[in-house]
C-alpha cells in the first residue's frame, strides 16, 4: 500500500487532473468568442431591425434610417446565379466521381476539387474579374454570380459523390436486374435515393456563398441603387456590411450590425437544417 501513496503516484494524478482541466478550460474558452459575437451582433443590430430595414433603400449620407432592400435582392440574385452554375457542375461531376473510382483521372479530379475548396475566394474573384469584368468593361451581377458558383462547386461535388456512394449496391443491382440501363438507374433510382444527402451539400454551399464578400469586391462591386440588371453592378448584404462598417457614421455602423444579424440568422438556419437532415440520415 505504501507505493500508492508515494509522491510519484500523487504527481501522476495531479498531472492527469491538470491535463483534464486544460481540456475543459479550452472547451470553455473556445465558446467565449462565439457567444461574444452572437451577443454583440444581437445587441448592436437589433435596434436597427424593423420593417423599413428590409423594404427601404439606403438613405443618402447624413440621413438616418433607410434599409437594405436592394442588398437583400442583390444577394438573392447572386446566390441564384451561383447555384445555376454550381449545382449542375457540382452534382454532375460528383456523379462522375462516384461511378469511376480507381483510375488516375478521377483520382486527380477528386484531388483538384479538394484543392479548389481550399483556394482563397479572393483569387476566384480576381479570375472572374479578368474573365468577365475586363471584356465586358463593367462590374456586373453576372460575374459575381459566376464567382460564387465556382466557390460552391467543390462542396456540392464532394457531398454528391459521398451520398451516391452511400446508396447500397443492392439497390443498383436490383435495378440492373430489371433490365434498366445504367444511366436510367443513376437518374431514376440512385439519385432519388441520394437526394436528401445531396440537398444538405447544396444547402451548405448556399450558406457559404451567401456569406462570401471577397469575390464580390471586384465583380458585383456593390450598388447603392436598385438594380436587378445582370450586366450592371449589384448590391449584396456582405458588401453592404463591409461598406457600412468602414463608414464613419454611427447609424451606418449600427446598420452593418443589423445586416450581420440578418446574415447570421440566415446562415445558422441553413446550418441547422443541414444538421437536422444529416442527423436523420444516420
Amino acid at each position: 500500500m505504501e507505493e500508492y501513496n508515494s509522491t510519484k503516484y500523487k504527481w501522476r494524478i495531479r498531472k492527469s487532473n491538470i491535463a483534464v482541466m486544460f481540456a475543459v478550460l479550452s472547451a470553455l474558452l473556445v465558446l467565449i468568442p462565439l457567444f461574444l459575437i452572437l451577443f454583440y451582433t444581437v445587441q448592436q443590430g437589433i435596434s436597427s431591425i424593423n420593417w423599413d430595414f428590409f423594404t427601404q433603400m439606403p438613405k443618402p449620407v447624413g440621413e438616418t434610417g433607410g434599409g437594405m432592400a436592394n442588398a437583400l435582392v442583390g444577394s438573392a440574385i447572386l446566390v441564384l446565379l451561383g447555384s445555376a452554375l454550381g449545382i449542375p457542375v457540382g452534382v454532375m461531376s460528383g456523379i462522375y466521381l462516384s461511378e469511376e473510382s480507381d483510375s488516375f483521372l478521377p483520382k486527380s479530379i477528386r484531388f483538384l476539387v479538394e484543392v479548389l475548396n481550399g483556394t482563397p475566394s479572393i483569387v476566384i474573384g480576381i479570375v472572374a474579374y479578368i474573365t468577365f469584368v475586363v471584356p465586358m468593361k463593367s462590374f456586373s451581377a453576372l460575374s459575381g454570380g459566376i464567382a460564387l458558383g465556382i466557390i460552391m462547386i467543390p462542396l456540392i461535388t464532394r457531398t454528391t459523390e459521398e451520398m451516391v456512394r452511400l446508396v447500397p449496391s443492392t439497390v443498383r443491382e436490383a435495378s440492373f436486374g430489371l433490365g434498366i440501363p445504367k444511366w436510367k438507374t443513376t437518374l431514376h433510382v440512385i439519385l432519388p435515393a441520394a437526394m436528401k444527402g445531396m440537398l444538405t451539400g447544396i444547402i451548405l454551399s448556399i450558406a457559404r456563398a451567401a456569406g462570401e464578400t471577397a469575390p464580390l469586391l471586384f465583380t458585383a462591386l456593390g450598388n447603392r441603387f436598385w438594380s436587378t440588371n445582370l450586366d450592371q453592378p449589384i448590391a449584396s448584404i456582405t458588401v453592404f456590411i463591409y461598406d457600412y462598417a468602414k463608414a464613419p457614421f454611427d447609424d451606418w455602423n449600427r446598420q452593418a450590425w443589423a445586416a450581420s444579424l440578418v446574415l447570421i440568422v440566415f446562415v445558422t438556419t441553413l446550418n441547422v437544417i443541414f444538421k437536422i437532415i444529416s442527423r436523420k440520415r444516420k
Binding site: R12, S16, V20, A23, L25, S26, A27, V30, L31, L34, L36, I37, Y40, T41, Q44, P88, M92, S93, Y96, E99, D102, I109, F111, L112, E114, V115, L116, N117, G118, T119, P120, S121, I122, V123, I126, V127, Y129, I153, P154, P181, K182, W183, L187, A207, G211, T213, L217, F218, L221, T238, I241, Y242, A245, W257, L263, I264, V267, T268, N271, K275
Partner: protein, 327 residues
C-alpha cells in the same frame, strides 16, 4: 484488376447482343457517362484556366521585376515600384501566430470531446464549435473592428507593453488594429476545422488502445498522451488545413490588420497580407504595372495555398485510408 476488366468486357458482349434496344441502351449510357465526365473536366479546366489567366496577367510584372518581386520590400505605387515581401511576410506571420494560439486550444477541445466530456455534452459542444465555422468572415471583421480592436487597445496591449515591453513582440505604439488582432481573429476562425478533424482522428483510434493503457495502470493523461501520439499524423494534417485556411482568409484580416506594407516583428504594428492588399488596392490600381503586380501577388497566393492544401489533403487522405472516412 486486368482479369476483372477483361471478364466484364466479355460479359458485356455476351449479355448485350446487338439488338436495337441494346444499342439504344449503350448510346444512353455513353451519352450520360460523357456528359458527367464533361462536367468533371470542367473543374479540371477551371483550375488550369485560373492559373493561366493569372500567369498571363502577371507577365508584365514578372518580366519587369523578376525574382526581386519576392525579395524587395518596397511597395510604391507612386514610383511604380513593387515588391511583395511585406505581404508574404504579413500572410505567413499572421497565420503562424494564429496557429500558435489555435493549435493548443483545438487539441484541448478535441481531447475534451473525445476523452473527457460525458456523452450528452459531446454533441452540443461539437455543434457550437462548428457554428464558429459557419459565421461569415465579414461578421468576424465587424466584430474585430468594433469589439476586439478597442478591447485590445484599451486593455490587453497596455498590459502587454508594461509587463513584456522588453520583448521585440510588444514594442511600439499600439492602436488596436494590427498583427495581434489579425492573429486573434484568425485563430478563432481556424479553430473549428482543426478541432473537428482532430476530433474525428482521435475518435477513430481504437478503444483497445485506451483499454490497454488503463489496464496497465495509466492515468487519464497518460492514456490521452497515447491517443495523441497515435493520432499525430491526422492532427498534423488538420493543422496544415487550418494554416491554409488562415493564409487564405481575406475579409476579417483586411478589416483589422491595419493595412500598411511593413515588416515588423511587433504584434502591435500594422501589417498587410497578400489577401488584404488584393482586397484593398485592386479596384484602385491605376497603372497597368500596378495591376499586373497585384495579379502576380494573386498568382503567388494561389500557388502557396495550392501547395499547403495539397500537402494537408495528402496527409488527411492517408489517415482516412487507415481509419476510415474523416472530414
Amino acid at each position: 484488376m486486368v482479369l476483372k476488366k477483361l471478364f466484364s468486357k466479355t460479359e458485356e458482349k455476351f449479355f448485350h447482343s446487338n439488338t436495337l434496344q441494346n444499342n439504344e441502351r449503350h448510346l444512353g449510357d455513353y451519352i450520360f457517362h460523357n456528359v458527367t465526365r464533361l462536367f468533371a473536366f470542367f473543374v479540371l479546366g477551371l483550375m488550369l484556366v485560373m492559373f493561366l489567366e493569372l500567369f498571363i496577367e502577371s507577365l508584365p510584372s514578372i518580366n519587369k521585376f523578376g525574382l526581386s518581386f519576392i525579395t524587395s520590400s518596397e511597395w510604391n505605387p507612386v514610383k511604380d515600384k513593387y515588391g511583395a515581401l511585406p505581404f508574404i511576410f504579413g500572410t505567413v506571420y499572421s497565420s503562424i501566430l494564429a496557429l500558435m494560439i489555435a493549435l493548443p486550444l483545438s487539441i484541448g477541445v478535441a481531447v475534451f470531446l473525445t476523452e473527457v466530456a460525458p456523452t450528452w455534452l459531446e454533441q452540443p459542444v461539437s455543434i457550437l464549435v462548428e457554428l464558429l465555422a459557419a459565421i461569415p468572415s465579414i461578421v468576424y471583421g465587424l466584430f474585430g473592428i468594433f469589439v476586439l480592436a478597442p478591447f485590445l487597445k484599451n486593455v490587453v496591449e497596455p498590459f502587454l507593453q508594461t509587463h513584456f515591453g522588453f520583448l521585440p513582440f510588444f514594442k511600439g505604439s499600439f492602436y488596436g488594429f494590427g498583427m495581434l488582432s489579425a492573429a486573434l481573429i484568425l485563430s478563432i476562425m481556424i479553430l473549428p476545422i482543426i478541432t473537428s478533424i482532430s476530433r474525428d482522428v482521435m475518435k477513430a483510434i481504437p478503444d483497445s488502445l485506451r483499454e490497454g493503457a488503463y489496464a496497465l495502470g495509466a492515468t487519464k493523461w497518460e492514456t490521452i498522451k497515447i491517443v495523441l501520439i497515435s493520432s499525430r499524423s491526422g492532427v498534423l494534417g488538420a493543422t496544415l488545413l487550418g494554416f491554409g485556411r488562415a493564409i487564405g482568409e481575406t475579409m476579417a484580416v483586411t478589416m483589422v490588420i491595419g493595412n500598411r506594407p511593413e515588416i515588423s516583428l511587433s504584434l502591435f504594428d500594422a501589417g498587410h497580407t497578400m489577401a488584404s492588399v488584393l482586397a484593398n488596392e485592386f479596384t484602385e490600381a491605376t497603372s497597368s504595372l500596378y495591376v499586373s503586380s497585384l495579379m502576380e501577388i494573386g498568382l503567388l497566393f494561389f500557388l502557396i495555398t495550392i501547395i499547403i492544401n495539397s500537402i494537408a489533403r495528402l496527409i488527411v487522405n492517408n489517415v482516412t485510408k487507415k481509419y476510415g472516412k474523416i472530414a
